[in-house]
């Protein structure tokens, strides 16, 4: 299977490509994506003297603490001022720095929306925003802290880049890539441990989707940890003789339109999977491309226009319909709708 080697993630699963049962979670263990962000910042700090980090009083939760410990002179505490921390980052960027500001995604995208819009995006300032605690899997903290709207809010703003890496290692690569491009960017990552399954040699390029599994019966377009759930669903479907393509849409903006169009043309049925509201996020972005280029039936897996709540992460993922079995069911619904 050509893409398995191309995507370089699947040799622990090659059994699966010929339809055999695969053990669930054959991975390199589990690790939260936020650690990839924290480590990526340190790599950037070692590489460039003008990379600086702004703290939002939760440095230990979004792992900017790594950078803070390593480069105390380039770490600046902003207190709890998300809006103005974003503006300070703008000033730093306009003075030639590469500033990262990170906090919980709910506040990294909503408390400073006007600042991102005008001072970062309209200004084309080289500001990097890290949005942690993405999705319902935040768990016990509950609805206020479960970021489910950032993809829509960031995606609608011109000039923004929005990346949503799928596991720890890809988050590290994405953080470095975001630091080495010019322009305002937002990177989304999560709190809880999720399977690590990409490898050093798995390519990551901003704006380029990765096909993690081939198949032409249907295509799952996913981002973040939902990519792993999608792979699980796809490999279970192989046992039923259903060959599903799995696409890691690690960049939401700019969007890899061609990979989406090809999937629609070659598979005829699409499922999107995101730990986000199904309105205006990844599902919306995919629906827009298809409506413009190649209409096809799409089933959306995501949070259905409701707020979250307290609970255990895995418990909530089940209740809000964000598991591999939800994706499996969606694939079957989508395939039924094929013309």
């Amino acid at each position: 299977m050509e893409t398995t080697t191309k995507s370089g993630i699947l040799d622990n699963m090659t059994v699966a490509t010929n339809g055999a049962q695969i053990p669930a979670f054959v991975t390199n263990g589990k690790k939260a994506t936020r650690f990839g962000f924290g480590e990526g910042l340190v790599v950037l700090g070692e590489k460039y003297e003008n990379v600086v980090v702004l703290g939002g009083d939760i440095t230990g939760s979004v792992m900017t603490s790594y950078f803070k410990d390593k480069f105390p002179d380039r770490f600046f505490s902003m207190g709890i001022t998300e809006a103005t921390a974003t503006l300070v980052a703008t000033g730093l960027a306009l003075s030639g720095m590469v500033p990262f500001f990170a906090t919980y995604g709910a506040f990294a995208s909503c408390r400073n929306t006007d600042m991102i819009r005008i001072s970062c995006a309209y200004n084309d300032a080289n500001v990097k925003i890290g949005g942690g605690h993405a999705g319902i899997s935040v768990g016990e903290d509950g609805a206020t802290h479960q970021a489910l709207e950032e993809m829509a809010i960031i995606r609608v703003l011109p000039n923004m880049t929005l990346v949503v890496p799928c596991d720890y290692l890809e988050t590290k690569k994405a953080t470095i890539a975001v630091g080495e491009m010019y322009g305002p960017a937002y990177i989304r990552f999560g709190r809880v441990d999720v399977p690590s399954f990409t490898r050093e040699d798995t390519p990551f390029v901003i704006g380029k989707a990765q096909i993690f599994k081939d198949g032409n019966d249907a295509a799952i377009i996913a981002c973040g940890p939902m990519v792993w759930e999608s792979l699980q669903a796809a490999y279970e479907l192989e046992n039923e003789g259903i060959h599903v393509r799995v696409i890691n849409m690690s960049t939401i903006k700019p969007l890899d339109r061609q990979t989406i169009i090809d999937a629609a043309k070659e598979c005829g049925a699409i499922v999107t999977a995101e730990e986000h509201q199904i309105t205006a996020g990844l599902g919306g972005a995919v629906a827009e491309v298809l409506a413009q280029e190649s209409p096809a039936p799409v089933e959306f897996v995501g949070v259905k226009d409701t707020f979250g709540g307290s609970g255990k992460a895995d418990e909530l993922m089940k209740i809000f319909g964000l598991t591999s079995s939800d994706i499996k069911a969606a694939v079957k619904r989508a395939m039924k709708r094929k013309r």
């Binding site: 009083d57 440095t59 505490s77 206020t144 409701t306 709540g309 307290s310």
Partner: protein, 316 residues
């Protein structure tokens, strides 16, 4: 002229499915939650009595948190005396049995993460069974990790959890009471000190002063701690009192772990005319629990089982 009316309280749209968390029966028995008789809210409660209630609230905070396995210890323990004075010292008017009584005073917890102390206070006042404290942060619990109005928990006037928002909501309530309904109701709000760095705090302060909301009293839990460290290291805030004075508040500084000072402060606040009041209450994070006392690292951690035993000893 008629009013456009609609039921506002209680809201119960936040439940996902029928399941409800069931309190751990052994603990309910062990803590004697079943047989608990709520404390009375009365101006006659002696300082000693209020201190005992505050300690009771602290013990219940520990019980909530160890059972939840996550949540915030430091701020809730540090502010228990403030809550005891507010709810049991005759400062706030409410009817625990009739929680949505229209004539009630309002309390907004702007520092939503400190909800364990509010929940414990409300339970001790009889707003809901104390056993429910053991469902904190569990799926479909009315005791959400941050207050969720959509769960209809008696005594929760608004969802909070995003810092800096509750204060403006409280100001809006005070505005409605003083300038529209003119109903003599009083509105109280509590903020953390780290929370003061949010600009909306100062916007709300300007508005409260401009509209001369003397029915509005805010308390700052001045514990000099936030998540990343001491407030003066994270983002210098001193002098908090000078800031609120410059924003045209009647400002009172007091020991927030001293019942009699708190009582005096609330009494003074009630007598002020033409200005909102800010009580800067100096507290210790984790007050009452030796190994948490004044240690910012306890901002957002629960005690483990062993630590809980230790803590309850300290609070006995």
């Amino acid at each position: 002229m008629p009013r456009f009316t609609h039921q506002i309280y209680p809201l119960e749209t936040g439940f996902h499915g029928p399941t409800r968390p069931i309190p751990n029966a052994d603990l309910v028995k062990q803590y004697e939650f079943d047989s608990f008789v709520p404390f009375k809210n009365s101006a006659d409660n002696s300082d000693q009595k209020l201190h005992e209630i505050a300690q009771q609230i602290r013990r219940d905070i520990i019980r909530e948190l160890v059972e939840a396995g996550s949540g915030h210890s430091g701020g809730p323990l540090g502010s228990a005396d403030i809550f005891a004075t507010l709810y049991f010292g005759g400062v706030m008017r409410y009817e625990a049995q009739n929680p949505w009584w229209p004539g009630r005073d309002r309390f907004i917890l702007s520092a939503g993460h400190m909800c364990p102390v509010l929940y414990a206070t409300l339970a001790n006042a009889g707003f809901f069974p104390k056993s429910e404290l053991l469902t904190l942060r569990k799926f479909n619990s009315r005791l959400q990790g941050h207050p969720g109005r959509d769960m209809g928990l008696p005594g929760i006037e608004s969802s909070t959890g995003s810092l800096g928002q509750g204060l403006g909501i409280a100001v809006g309530m005070a505005l409605a009471d003083k300038h529209v309904d003119k109903n003599g109701r009083r509105v109280f709000a509590l903020t953390g000190d780290g929370e003061l760095s949010e600009g909306e705090i100062w916007e709300a302060a300007l508005i409260a002063a401009h509209w001369e909301l003397d029915n509005f009293t805010m308390v700052v839990d001045r514990n000099y701690c936030q998540i990343d460290g001491r407030t003066e290291d994270v983002l210098k805030l001193d002098s908090v009192a000078d800031k609120f004075r410059a924003f045209n508040f009647h400002t009172i500084e007091c020991n927030g772990n001293d019942i009699s000072e708190l009582r005096a402060a609330f009494a003074e606040a009630k007598s002020v005319k033409g200005h909102p009041t800010c009580i800067v209450a100096k507290t210790f994070m984790g007050q009452g629990v030796s190994f948490m006392q004044d240690d910012y690292r306890w901002h957002g951690k629960p005690p483990n089982k062993e630590q809980a035993v230790e803590a309850l000893k300290d609070l006995a």
